[in-house]
Amino acid sequence: MSDARTDILGRVRAALGRKAAQPASESPGVYLSTRNLSVTERIELFVRNFEKLNGQARCLAARADVGPVLRELLDGRTAVASNSPYLRECGITEIGSVQTGFTVREELKAACASAGAGITSCDYALAETGTLVMLSSPQEARLVSLLPPMHVAVIPASSIIGNLDELLTNVPLPAEQSSSMVLITGPSRTADIEQILVRGVHGPGQIHALIVEEGA
């Protein structure tokens, strides 16, 4: 019996009348429609769409404003912050209840599983859909924005772009940079029982964006 790979590829080729190693026919062009928006328009649009999904957004003038606002948001909760240098620049690592600097998976996992909030930055944000884009890296682990019941993203305003089309224009091959690119659009939700909306089923039920305008 031939192996499954040879067999399946052979059947596909027989079905299509193609030969092994035959190049593909000319493909239809890529269809991306980007928008031209000013920084202010992008921020406004992002905030509007983010809040439509029950996220809470705040615009801050300077990095120095992040610490006090975050303390208020955390309201005594313990938190895990990602290793993003931007968070350090914003003074987050100085908040007492915030743990950071994890480099070992199991330690990070345990900390995130018991933390009240996860704090991250993001690589991009999409104005048109209120989406956060996070590529996994030594600075941004996957679980910080996933395990705790609250997610706070600190976003430099300059990272807000128009839409998904623009993201794939900027990052045509995400796999060359990271094993994981996740787009987060609002809090975790389900409507599986009687189509009633419930937030926070497996991921965070609360999501906050602190948009920092300094440097944009």
């Binding site: 094993s179 987060i184 609002g186 497996h202």
Partner: protein, 474 residues
């Protein structure tokens, strides 16, 4: 014939279920309609056309894109496993689990693994496989299959869920949906943290990136693919798209068509195990590419477009038949119009010969399909295949003779009118002007019996239209 027709009668006779199906599909329909309205999405029709073209191109060059995907997955440290059928997938999962000493698998919602009955197959070998999508988790506890491609537990009420949780989890009877969700969250959270293997499906396989793309709202697919040390993605070979840059097009269509969402809450683009410097993510990454009959479908150039489907479920929501008979009346896990065209192609048309006929051919499915699959055309082709097979097998003889007689009569107006007058005079005429529901003795043959088994016939009018017309003209 399968037991489906019995299920159809039960479903239609259950007002609670009828209400549930109508409300849920109605809501999904209106969400979609809002999301694609021209003011918000003027390019909607253009996107459908382009999506159809890209799917056609990919399917017509499928071997090329399969090999491209494989080379990219491998380059990023992952592995592609080709599987001919359900048994080969189970063998792979079981073999890997055994080698790694794995005991617990967390699964996120995947129609493909439902198709191959993966849970039952692995559980026979002392491996625990837990569904983690809330709807799928409830169904797994209740031992039921999904009712809908997108909303698997659409048919259940909170009270049924409460009973299932009490019976299976030993919790007190809880009928508040938010609290039910909390119960599931806490039970499943433990599973996520303890799991050795995470299994997901794939909404798309991105060839130029060697990536698996998964959309979801709950976060269970993210957890399944990020918390355990091994991630296995299982997908049919038709799920390919050529480029990462094709994603905006398909994602705009998928979310809107399925639930009316411009973006689902989480969209994960996963391409291999964690890179050496990444803190978390799986150490091992496998993409299982499943045939299970798809190459047979591919071999038929006329019906190949059934493979363009992106499983949004819009055709189910808009189908007057699905909305009446519900998801469990179909013979396979793929229900609704798309199920009606792919089931006969996977199982053979004569397995459930009634299936392509259970349609009004209203065309709503084709109108809402985001990749423009011509479902009514495919249904007609499948109908003709059923009739051909029946003719060959000699079972269509009576029907054929009946239609021949009818055609012969239609070509002889005088005789036709005479036959009409005779029917009016001597035909059955139930008392009290009721309709005919029993087969008149003379016509007790299978096609007539079948027809009358679901319908009543008005008694023949005392005067034909022809006669009335003549009298009026006088």
């Amino acid at each position: 014939m399968t037991s489906a027709p019995i299920k159809i009668k039960e479903t239609i006779a259950d007002p609670r279920l009828q209400q549930a199906i109508y409300t849920a599909t109605g809501r999904l329909m209106s969400h979609r309609a809002q999301a694609i309205q021209p003011a918000l999405m003027p390019e909607y029709q253009e996107l459908r056309t382009r999506a159809h073209e890209i799917k056609r191109h990919t399917i017509e060059n499928l071997d090329y894109y399969l090999e491209l995907l494989e080379s990219k997955v491998t380059a990023h440290g992952g592995k592609v496993i080709f599987c001919r059928d359900a048994a080969e997938v189970a063998d792979f999962v079981l073999g890997l689990a055994k080698e790694r000493g794995a005991k617990l698998i967390v699964k996120s919602k995947s129609m493909t693994t439902e198709e191959i009955g993966l849970n039952e197959r692995v559980e026979r070998h002392q491996l625990e496989a837990v569904e983690t999508d809330l709807g799928e988790y409830i169904l797994q506890l209740a031992h039921q299959r999904p009712y809908h491609i997108v909303a698997p537990a659409l048919h259940m009420t909170r009270y049924e869920v409460a009973d299932i949780f009490t019976e299976k989890l030993g919790v007190k009877n809880e009928v508040v949906i938010e609290n039910q969700t909390k119960i599931a969250r806490s039970v499943l959270r433990e599973k996520f943290l303890a799991a050795d293997i995470g299994i997901t499906g794939a909404n798309f396989l991105v060839a130029d990136s060697g990536a698996v793309l998964v959309v979801e709202n709950e976060g269970n697919a993210r957890l399944s693919s990020s918390a355990p040390k091994i991630h296995i993605a299982i997908a049919g070979i038709e799920k390919l798209i050529p480029r990462a840059q094709d994603l905006p097009l398909f994602l705009k269509l998928l979310g809107r068509s399925a639930t009316g969402q411009a973006m689902t809450v989480y969209t994960s683009f996963l391409s291999g195990p964690r890179r050496s410097d990444e803190i978390d993510g799986p150490d091992e990454f496998y993409v299982v590419l499943l045939d299970n009959g798809r190459t047979k479908l591919l071999a038929n150039a006329d019906k190949r477009e059934s493979l363009y489907c992106i499983r949004c479920g819009a055709c189910l929501n808009h189908c007057p038949v699905y909305r009446k008979i519900g998801g469990h009346s179909y013979p396979w896990i793929y229900s609704g119009p798309i199920g009606k065209i792919i089931t006969p192609q996977f199982h053979g048309v004569m397995q459930d010969p009634w299936l392509p006929f259970a349609s009004s051919l209203c065309g709503a499915c084709a109108e809402v399909c985001p990749v423009k699959i011509d479902i009514p055309k495919l249904l007609l082709q499948l109908r003709s295949e059923v009739v051909e097979a029946k003719t060959r097998g000699g079972t269509a003889g009576e029907e054929r003779r009946g239609f021949r007689l009818f055609a012969w009569l239609m070509q002889r107006p005088k005789l036709f009118q005479f036959a009409g007058r005779m029917a009016a005079r001597f035909g059955p005429r139930p008392a009290g002007g009721k309709w005919i529901s029993k087969v008149p003795g003379l016509f007790n043959i299978e096609p007539v019996r079948n027809w009358l088994s679901q319908r009543d016939l008005p008694p023949p009018a005392p005067k034909s239209f022809h006669q009335l017309w003549k009298e009026r003209k006088k």
